[in-house]
Amino acid sequence: MAADNGKTLEEIMNELEECVAKLESSDISLEDSFREYEAGMKLVKECNDRIDGIEKKVQLLEKDGSVSILDEGTEE
């Protein structure tokens, strides 16, 4: 499913890898290098932001469409 700003995390990772590849190429100008670097750093930040660091509870989706939290304690 498409994420927050329309790009999936996978797409962002790919862009980041492209950025690195461009910087690795020898025929890029210094100006372009700075642009790629800046773009790359933004992508890194985006990647880190996508991990919200919040542990999730398992949700239960019922037939009627209602959602509740699964009590994992009783599962063990």
Binding site: L16, E17, V44, I51, Q59, L61, L70
Partner: protein, 402 residues
């Protein structure tokens, strides 16, 4: 007084008992085929037997659509129909309307049939397989709310990525209505909006897993726009759902591994990429600095200051060469002079004087070598070896010497 009846009356009475019996009018009997005869009329006559007993059976031509295979001796079958009497012979027999292969064989037959049918319809085609997204935030799970499958999925997913959201649709995974419940779950999770759906259950018998061999589940998986992973039973159990799903996991644990990315690896990868970006940028800047240094050195080499220094050096060199050349030339001249002086010595007039000759000059200091150079009474000077004599000319005589 007991009544006496005709044979026909008794048989008719018995037939009536049979037809009024609810159970006998719709019964399924399992057993082994024997004495099977395909009659030219289209009816099939055979005997169904087990270890203890036998029963005569007939399937009329009109019911042949209830049989999808050829009956053979020794085959284990389930015959459905009614038990009725044949009044004329006083016999009862099983009038078959449906005959199916028994137990595992029958289920497996259905499995193969549906598999072939769905394959022909293209439900397993590779071109419809969707890739499982690499970075999944929300996982939908269709399985029983209790049981090993969901526990394994939760523990493996959370272990790899505690930030992933699991949405469980608690489905009935076996028994009547299971297929519908599973299909409903798939549709509900697709509607709810998840990144990937795991459909499955833990291990069980073929009958237990049967819901995952039903067409309704297969169609729901095929229609689902969210990528699906099937995870039914153990490695060795392959169901129709496995063929239709975008990916097949051998177990629910494996499905959770496929669906969840390892967050620690991910964070590590990101930081590696970040380091790489910085290192590359630093390198680029270093390279740029170096080329600036090189250029400035080239420029300095071409500056007027350096040109003047060059010229000055060239001048100094020329000067040095000039003075060397001058000195050489002088030395050569001196040597030549000495040489000439030596050879001149041989022709010196003084040498002649020392041999007794003399040299005469007039008052003006001019040499006298001819009698016509002097006149009587001229004062002349005669040079000899060790001095000079001044004399007055007394006489001049011309002498022919040769």
């Amino acid at each position: 007084m007991q009544s006496v009846y005709t044979v026909a009356q008794v048989n008719s009475y018995i037939k009536n008992m049979f037809t009024q019996d609810y159970l006998l009018q719709a019964v399924s009997v399992k057993g082994e085929i024997s004495n099977c005869k395909y009659h030219s009329s289209g009816h099939i006559y055979f005997t169904l037997k087990d270890k203890l007993s036998v029963i005569s059976c007939v399937m009329f031509a009109g019911n042949r659509k209830g049989l999808s295979f050829n009956l053979q001796e020794g085959m284990q079958v389930v015959v459905s129909g009614r038990v009725d009497t044949y009044e004329r012979d006083g016999k009862y027999q099983l009038y078959a309307t449906h005959i199916k292969k028994d137990g595992f064989g029958e289920l497996y037959e259905r499995f193969l049939q549906l598999k072939q049918e769905l394959e022909e319809r293209g439900l397993f085609a590779a071109e419809y397989k969707q890739p499982i997204p690499k970075y999944v935030k929300t996982i939908g799970v269709v399985t029983a709310a209790t049981g090993a499958a969901i526990r394994d999925i939760i523990s493996v997913s959370k272990g790899r990525n505690p930030f992933v959201q699991i949405v469980l649709y608690p489905a009935q995974v076996q028994g009547i209505g299971a297929a519908h419940s599973v299909a409903e779950g798939i549709r509900a999770l697709e509607q709810f909006g998840v990144d990937v759906i795991i459909v499955g259950r833990g291990g069980g018998s073929l009958e237990d897993l049967w819901a995952f061999n039903e067409e309704e589940v297969a169609q729901a998986i095929f229609d689902c726009k969210v990528p699906t992973i099937s995870a039914v039973g153990h490695e060795t159990d392959v169901t129709i759902a496995d063929y239709v799903a975008d990916r097949r996991a051998e177990t629910p644990t494996a499905a959770a591994q496929m669906a969840t990315f390892d967050v620690a690896t991910y964070i590590h990868d990101i930081s590696l990429l970040q380091d790489r970006l910085s290192a590359l940028m630093e390198h680029k800047v270093d390279l740029a600095k170096m080329s600036v240094r090189n250029a400035s050195m080239l420029l300095m080499n071409r500056s007027p200051k350096s040109m003047i220094a060059d010229r000055r050096y060239a001048t100094m060199q020329a000067e040095e060469r000039l003075s060397h050349a001058m000195a050489d030339s002088l030395t050569r001249s001196k040597n030549k002079l000495a040489l000439l002086a030596g050879s001149l010595n041989g022709v010196s007039p003084l040498e002649k004087l020392s041999q007794g000759y003399s040299y005469t000059e007039n008052a003006d200091g001019k040499g006298i070598s001819d009698v016509t150079n002097v006149a009587i009474e001229d004062i002349i000077k005669v040079h000899v070896k060790n001095g000079a004599i001044t004399a007055k000319v007394k006489d001049v005589v011309k002498i022919e010497r040769q």
